[in-house]
């Protein structure tokens, strides 16, 4: 193939990614098909065309919901934290992916999980942020939280992660792990590190299980610019920049240079936020 054709092919593939990230699936398919015509043996173009065709069918059949702000991992957290401040609350129900229906992660059974907060009343929070939920807070230090409640919740989350993993429900396991970690990161002194830190191996297993086949290859499903809106940080943007539909999750994790735990945690967050799509293993 001539040099210019090679450059054109790369540009078409890149433009296809841009279309896909903005939900313009037909345009993405068109660019990737053109790229494939330029080089019929190009495996990347071939895989992307297959993916785009399948995605178009899913959208048509109503099996795919485009990602939105509602799917962020952050939304349950501030509300969950705020719920802890309500001294008369009893339980906080954290919704899991499986509840939303049509989740591609295939969590077989994802019942509500109740998180004990030490009070008496029962409160349910929704990930959509509606229903008069308390205003989000970045840190527990801003809130009149009781240390015992935080500790009890952290313990509960670790237990939930373990149970869900044992029952082969990776999505709730990973969410519980994420919540526990965020709780530990934001808890006021003396903190809950002694509860959460020993469970890091468990959490890593949960994140890995949630990510599924490590040889599968992700691509970006939302524009990287919007990651901050999804509550994700620059590590997520960095990992997204490694995704091309040819590099496997395992290779992205190994090749990120990030700590293994951090890499898989961020990838799990990206998947939960539906910021990435996964192509099958090569």
């Amino acid at each position: 193939m001539a040099k210019d054709a090679s450059l054109e092919l790369k540009q078409l593939i890149q433009r296809g990614f841009d279309h896909h990230e903005h939900g313009r699936e037909h345009d993405a398919l068109s660019d990737w098909e053109t790229a494939l015509k330029l080089d019929k043996r190009n495996m990347q173009a071939k895989r992307l065309v297959e993916f785009a065709k399948k995605r178009a069918e899913e959208v048509e059949a109503g099996q795919h919901t485009p990602p939105s702000r509602r799917d962020t991992i952050e939304s349950p957290i501030p509300q969950f934290l705020a719920a802890l401040t309500e001294r008369h609350s009893d339980k906080v129900t954290v919704p899991y992916e499986g509840q939303k229906g049509g989740d591609p992660l295939g969590d077989r059974a994802a019942p509500d999980r109740e998180l004990y907060t030490g009070g008496k009343a029962k409160k349910s929070i929704s990930s959509s942020g509606d229903g008069g939920a308390p205003a989000p807070a970045d840190t527990l230090e801003d809130l009149p939280v009781h240390a015992d409640d935080v500790r009890a919740s952290a313990t509960e989350l670790v237990g939930e992660c373990r149970t869900a993993l044992g029952e082969n429900r990776p999505a709730p396991a990973a969410l519980a792990a994420e919540l526990a970690l965020q709780l530990a990161e934001r808890a006021p002194p003396p903190g809950v590190d002694d509860v959460v830190e020993p469970s890091r191996a468990l959490f890593e297993r949960a994140f890995r299980a949630f990510m599924g086949n490590p040889l599968a290859c992700p691509i970006r499903a939302v524009p990287t610019e919007t990651l901050a809106d999804h509550g994700l940080d620059q590590r997520a943007a960095f990992l997204m920049s490694r995704m091309d539909g040819m590099t496997s999750l395992a290779d992205i994790m190994d090749g990120s240079g990030l700590k293994r735990f951090d890499a898989v945690r961020v990838l799990a967050a990206l998947r939960r936020a539906k910021a990435i799509d996964i192509l099958p293993a090569i």
């Binding site: 901050a228 290779d251 240079g257 293993a281």
Partner: protein, 614 residues
């Protein structure tokens, strides 16, 4: 099936593999579709060995555990100035090896330089094997023309560790000229201008009646495409800092993305006049505060940023031509090698200096590997490349240390081998009964600044006043590049000699051990791949069985095939799912058969259910 010999261009920055297919040298693309593979090796946190693109893409974020440009180190002693220069420039730790050689520390393991190169060679071998569908055990590997015996031997040792028999080491410019001249009539002097990712080399070759001879070579081992990338990275980072007061170079993830983008933009600018660099969310300075980098760069800006680098290559060309006593008008062709020669400004300045349009008929990234594959084919089948003869030259001057610590050259660099030269020396002290012959290789007039090859003593000389006793010292270089030095007492005929055997710094036992360890690593990696394949197969079966289960339950409800049996199959599915999740090789093997039986039963039940309902 005839044994195939692959040609490998083991580059400082990128490597390339080719094989002669019929009469066409063919470059083999790697799994990602790229025809070159970064010569980068890294060790991940989980202890996984990363080679090629994946290693390169984490070279900044995992800098201390990523070895790159090790070609600058191969075959060099620890004390060599080049090693010390590399040590100061790279983030990965270098330490002194047990034989005064260089070792690289990645994570907690120490690797010799040939080992690291072996992993790259192995990757190239794997790429070729996948393409050819057969095992490859023989290769021709290219090295820079200035490589000394030790560096060549170390490259051969790297091949052995990679399980390859390196049947010939050839000079890179020679390989490039071979590919350029393959299938066409070329006679006269040609220049090979090789500006790669990390190094610049210029060589002048004389091609006469199919004989390729390197007549002069020079270069700069610290000048290449990466320097151009760095200029662009700095320009981008400075612009960003001006706007946002944040230095992106201080953040490893941001820097990695900057480097990737700069390299891509540089490549694009060889084809287009301007390009966009868009790095969304490159850094954040606080919670949810995302900064994006978006800039447009023109070709002329890149040329302006890097003009001095390009001019340096021309300056080296000028000196080399003067050194060889060759005028641009004497040249028949200028062949461009290395990805950087795609840059328009490079082509323009090269054209201006040599007074002719450089040849663009060969692919700059691939031509060296192609030449190596032609040579490889010719070595096992003379008919593959008839009338072709490669003549090597000695890349460095050879001589001995004389009084005052001076270096006396006996064989000048760029002398065609085989060759022999003699010189008569005299004693320098009264009553001197022995002389110590200390053999060096290099270009400095101070012996100690050159590389020590060996030493020996000729004793039993007649006692006499200084200058009276004559000793003839003879240097010989065989066609295989083996250097022998002898000293003979002209009066008595007494003689002493040494043969300089090239050493990579590794012992025979070490090479054998490293080769065996590497083989073990490959076997383990393959076994892991097999487990993964089986895991994926079982996972698909489990998915299918689980999808059928509700239907089966519905059909079997109230039949004699009761709940107990369904409980059993649920257990089988649970076991299978667990084995899949745990990637447990034994568990996968155990569940495979009952799972298949279950699935067949499910399929049968569902089919019979359909028949009944229809």
């Amino acid at each position: 099936m005839a044994e195939r010999v692959i040609g490998i261009d083991l580059g400082t920055t990128n490597s390339c593999v080719a094989v002669l297919e019929g009469t066409a040298p063919t470059v083999v693309a790697n799994r990602g579709g790229y025809k070159t593979t970064p010569s980068v090796v890294a060790m991940s946190e989980s202890g996984k060995r990363l080679v090629g693109h994946i290693a390169k893409r984490q070279a900044v974020t995992n800098a201390e555990n990523t070895a790159w440009a090790v070609k600058r180190l191969i075959g060099r002693p620890w004390t060599s100035p080049a090693v010390q220069a590399v040590k100061a420039a790279v983030p990965y730790p270098l330490i002194e090896g047990p034989h005064g050689d260089v070792r690289i520390k990645l994570r907690d393991q120490h690797f010799s330089v040939p080992e690291i190169s072996a992993y790259v060679l192995q990757e190239m071998r794997a790429i070729a094997e996948e393409y050819l569908g057969q095992t490859v055990s023989k290769a021709v590997v290219t090295v820079p023309a200035y490589f000394n015996d030790g560096q060549r031997q170390a490259t051969k040792d790297a091949g052995r560790i990679a399980g390859l028999d390196v049947i010939r080491i050839i000079n890179e410019p020679t390989a490039a000229a071979l590919a350029y001249g393959f299938g066409r009539k070329v006679d006269g002097k040609i220049v090979v201008f090789d500006l790669g990712g990390g190094t610049f080399d210029v060589s002048i070759l004389d091609i006469t009646n199919g004989v390729f001879e390197v007549v002069a070579t020079a270069g700069d081992t610290f000048l290449g495409g990466e320097d151009y990338d760095k200029r662009l990275v700095d320009w981008l980072a400075q612009g960003f800092a001006k706007e946002h007061k944040v230095d992106l170079r201080a953040d490893t993830m941001a820097l990695q993305r900057l480097k990737d983008a700069a390299e891509k933009a540089k490549c694009d600018l060889s084809a287009v006049r301007e390009t966009e660099i868009n790095l969304p969310f490159i850094i954040s300075t606080g919670r949810n505060q995302a900064f994006h980098l978006h800039r447009v760069i023109t070709r002329s800006k890149l040329e302006e940023l890097t003009l001095d680098l390009t001019e340096r290559t021309i300056q080296i060309c000028r000196l080399t031509m003067e050194d060889a006593g060759i005028e641009p008008k004497d040249l028949a062709e200028v062949v461009l090698v290395g990805g950087m020669t795609r840059m328009c400004k490079v082509q323009e300045l090269v054209g201006e200096f040599f007074g002719r349009e450089p040849c663009k008929s060969v692919h700059p990234d691939e031509v060296v590997a192609m030449g190596a594959s032609i040579q490889g084919a010719a070595l096992v089948d003379a008919a593959a490349a008839p009338d072709m003869l490669l003549l090597d030259v000695t890349p460095h001057s050879l001589g001995i240390m004389v009084a005052g610590g001076h270096f006396h050259r006996l064989i000048d660099r760029n002398t065609t081998v085989p060759t022999a030269k003699s010189h008569i020396f005299t004693t320098v002290r009264d009553d001197q009964t022995s002389v110590k012959i200390v053999v060096f290789q290099g270009e400095s007039d101070r012996a100690e600044e050159n590389e020590l090859l060996g030493e020996f003593v000729l004793s039993g000389l007649r006692r006499a006043t200084k200058g009276e006793v004559e000793v003839e010292v003879t240097f010989e270089i065989s066609a295989d590049g083996i250097v022998s030095v002898s000293a003979q007492d002209m009066e008595t005929g007494a003689e002493q000699s040494i043969t300089v055997t090239a050493s990579s710094g590794l012992t025979e036992n070490e090479i054998a051990r490293m080769a065996s360890e590497n083989q073990d690593h490959m076997v383990a990696a393959r076994a892991e791949e097999e487990v993964e394949k089986e895991r994926q197969r079982i996972e698909k079966l489990v998915d299918e069985a689980e999808a059928l289960l509700p239907k089966v339950e519905e059909i079997l409800a109230g039949t004699p095939f009761g709940e107990d049996s369904l409980d059993n199959v649920r257990l089988i599915l649970d076991d299978a799912r667990m084995a899949v999740e745990r990637r447990d090789a034994g568990g996968l093997e155990q569940v495979a058969e009952p799972l298949m039986r279950t699935l067949n039963m499910f399929r049968g039940v569902v089919d019979s259910g359909r028949l009944r309902s229809s």
